[in-house]
Amino acid sequence: MQQGDGQETQVTWDDQQNINKFGRLNNKFHELEDEIKAKKDMAENLEDAGNELILTDEEEVRYLIGEVFSHMPKDDVESRLEAMKEENEAELQQLEEEKKAVLIQMAELKTILYSKFNDSINLEEE
């Protein structure tokens, strides 16, 4: 941002607030990306656990609660896994929606800021 070509565009408080907002959204976007990745990994792990459960012959499996492996009937574990999967899926969906909303807002701010500052501002990731 420091390589201005000497062209002076007045920066108003409104502009500054738009820039701040863009910065915040950009941060939010990255945080959402991280959270979405974590949820996707979680979904995969739950899926793997579910598949293992189908393959096993044992009626009693070990399920981690707190710090201990509790011995639990397979059916109980299955329903717990199912519940976790659903919760995870719902959270993932919500995060994706948020991400969409953030991207829309960022695009709007980009239009506003670029139309005022042209090349004097850079809003792209390095």
Binding site: G4, E8, W13, N27, I65, E67, F69
Partner: protein, 187 residues
């Protein structure tokens, strides 16, 4: 219009003043561009330092919250068993990587490690509500730390933009002076 707008502050973090007009900002503060830049850079450094501190606090809390959730989960499990007369069979860790089997008979209470070398026995319901309130506290402080960070980030952005503007202003002034000198030479 004043040349500088300053908002309030948030938990000891002063807001970055917004400069409306670089020229009058420099005249009023009787800085030249380079001293102003140094002062602004200094301010930016302080903000960055504060940001690091907040980041560390956030990391701590983000690690703590899942731990508390685990505690709530196991107490919930014990609570669910209460009154059923069932024993819980578990594999638990004796030392890192070494496990043994234990039977936990139907329990009415658990011992909570309170810290400072103190452990206290609680009825399950009380333990549960204590842990729950710990969880709520941790979540609330995480939320306020995230808000602090957003505020701080805004101040960083304001300062960075101000630095860029003072810098550009300076470049512009120098160019003007150079062109003036050239014109005088030519005439």
């Amino acid at each position: 219009m004043a040349s500088v707008t300053s908002a309030s502050e948030r938990r000891g973090i002063p807001a970055a003043p917004f400069v409306h007009d670089v020229q009058s900002f420099l005249t009023q503060s009787s800085y030249d561009a380079s001293t102003a830049l140094v002062a602004l850079q200094d301010r930016l450094q302080q903000y960055k330092l504060a940001e690091m501190k907040l980041l560390a606090q956030r990391r701590d809390l983000q690690a703590k919250i899942p731990d508390i959730k685990k505690c709530v989960e196991i107490v919930d499990t014990l609570l669910a068993k209460k009154g059923t007369g069932e024993t819980m069979k578990v594999d638990f860790e004796l030392a890192e990587g070494i496990y043994s089997r234990a039977q936990i008979p139907e329990a009415d209470s658990v011992c909570l490690w309170l810290g400072a070398n103190v452990m206290l026995e609680y009825p399950l319901e009380e333990a549960r509500s204590l842990l729950q309130s710990n969880l709520e506290n941790a979540t609330a402080s995480l939320k306020s730390i995230i808000e602090d960070m957003q505020f701080l980030r805004d101040q960083v952005t304001v300062t960075e933009v101000t630095i860029a503007r003072v810098y550009n202003f300076d470049v512009h002034q120098r160019r003007k002076l150079r062109n003036q000198a050239k014109e005088e030479e030519e005439s």
